[in-house]
């Protein structure tokens, strides 16, 4: 009788611990199963249209805090990850990781040359949105918002998005990794008129 009761108590405890453990360690297998650490390809020049193409491949591919790896099947393969958890291993970049990859930058902040990163290369880069806003790093400069054009960025201390197109009313179509609840997509935004946002440009475009 006592043995049976011990077994039942132990079983319930075990199930409870497994459940708690699972809840406390949420992660997906996307990064582990798909992403790589391949070195980037040095590139002699980049164009704004070329970077727009790079950005569009990330569209609909989800969002991952501190992430930077995605495929091109137009869906988030790891939806509903917990917010701001770098360890969840999901698909997509976050706003600054997405910008780093689209702008084809180097992991070395003093290096302004161009690096072509594969979509499935798991890399975030050294910059936060706040770093970009300040124009930190050799490739990045702050510019007046009125002079921003396609594939320039608008950055606040907490977010950065890239200008995909401008609208006649002064707003912009922004391509951005917005958040876990939104993924990566193009939205019309009024960042240009928001004083929290500054204009940022990657230097060295060929066209």
């Amino acid at each position: 009788m006592r043995a049976t009761r011990s077994f039942v108590v132990g079983f319930i405890l075990g199930v409870g611990l497994v459940a708690v453990g699972s809840a406390g360690a949420y992660h997906t297998r996307f990064v582990a199963d798909n992403c790589n650490s391949a070195p980037p390809t040095p590139t002699s020049f980049i164009t704004r249209e070329g970077s727009a193409t790079v950005a569009l491949r990330a569209r609909f591919e989800g969002y991952q805090w501190a992430g930077g790896c995605w495929n091109d099947n137009d869906r988030d393969d790891s939806p509903n990850d917990p917010h701001e958890d770098a360890a969840t291993g999901g698909e997509g970049g976050d706003c600054s990781g997405f910008t780093f990859k689209v702008w084809r930058e180097s992991l070395t902040t003093s290096d302004a040359s161009f690096r072509q990163w594969g979509m499935l290369r798991y890399v975030h880069g050294p910059y936060t949105a706040a770093s970009f806003k300040a124009g930190t790093g050799a490739p990045n400069v702050t510019v007046a918002k009125a002079s921003l054009i396609k594939m320039d960025a608008l950055a606040s201390y907490g977010h950065i998005g890239l200008i995909y197109a401008t609208n006649p009313d002064g707003t912009d179509r922004i391509i951005e990794a917005k958040g876990e609840d939104y993924g990566t997509d193009i939205w019309t935004r009024a960042y240009r008129g928001n004083p929290s946002y500054s204009g940022v440009r990657r230097t060295g475009w060929s066209s």
Partner: protein
């Protein structure tokens, strides 16, 4: 008994070697002799249950509504979004980094520096914004992009949230321990020049927490990644 004596001798020899290394390293990147503001590096007010030597950092809480013009806090708060500060700002001066931290209604804001804050043209080399959820940070907001020592080594900053009984946070540095007093209940903006993985955009901070008497409460590794 002979074994015990041998062990004691070995321990003393090891400590001597470590002390010698620390002493030599003052010229080669070990325990610093000064903080960034030029003041002599001194031990913390209490000796912590942590490796030696221990260097105390300065921390001061000032009301954001009454910050002195030109002060560290004023220069940080002034550049933040308008009328958003709640409570005090904490100024910190360490051996390789200076910082200011203050709270808004929904976030923690910070400024990071790598030069003597008393020098007129000193500027922030980093900024941080951490969203608060139920009063706690979801992410330590690692900044490892813009700050460096005069020798060119990266200085990385992150917030550490101490436990309720913690009075001092100690961070392991190459050849010494840097000690941060907990002030005004705000997360502590710690910095380091070691264990920085630029390839992974990731930094590991070796941290221990101590009570007001220096007693060790716990130790951990803050594994911070660049994000957002």
């Amino acid at each position: 008994m002979p074994e015990a004596r041998e062990a004691a001798v070995a321990t003393v020899m090891a400590l001597g070697l470590l002390a010698g290394a620390a002493g030599c390293s003052q010229d080669g990147g070990g325990a610093p002799t000064h903080l960034l503001d030029g003041s002599p590096a001194a031990p913390p007010p209490v000796v912590l249950d942590a490796p030696m030597p221990q260097i105390g950092t300065k921390a001061d809480a000032v009301a954001t509504s009454r910050v002195a013009k030109g002060s560290l806090a004023a220069r940080c708060v002034a550049s933040a979004p308008a009328d958003t500060s709640h409570g005090p700002a904490v100024e910190r001066i360490g051996a390789t980094g200076v910082s200011v931290t203050f709270r808004t209604a929904s976030a923690l804001l910070g400024c990071d520096g790598d030069t003597d804050p008393g020098v007129g043209d000193s500027r922030w080399c980093g900024r941080a914004l951490g969203r608060l959820e139920h009063g706690r940070l979801r992410d330590p907001r690692l900044d490892a992009a813009g700050c460096a020592t005069p020798a060119g080594d990266t200085v990385a900053f992150a917030w550490f949230e101490p436990g309720p009984d913690t009075s001092y946070v100690a961070v392991g540095q190459p050849g010494y321990v840097e000690v941060y007093p907990v002030v005004a209940g705000l997360p502590v903006r710690i910095s380091t020049t070691s264990k920085i993985d630029l390839q992974e955009s990731r930094v590991r901070f070796d941290v221990s927490e101590h009570d007001a008497h220096g007693v060790l409460l716990g130790s951990s590794t803050l594994d911070a990644r660049v994000a957002g």
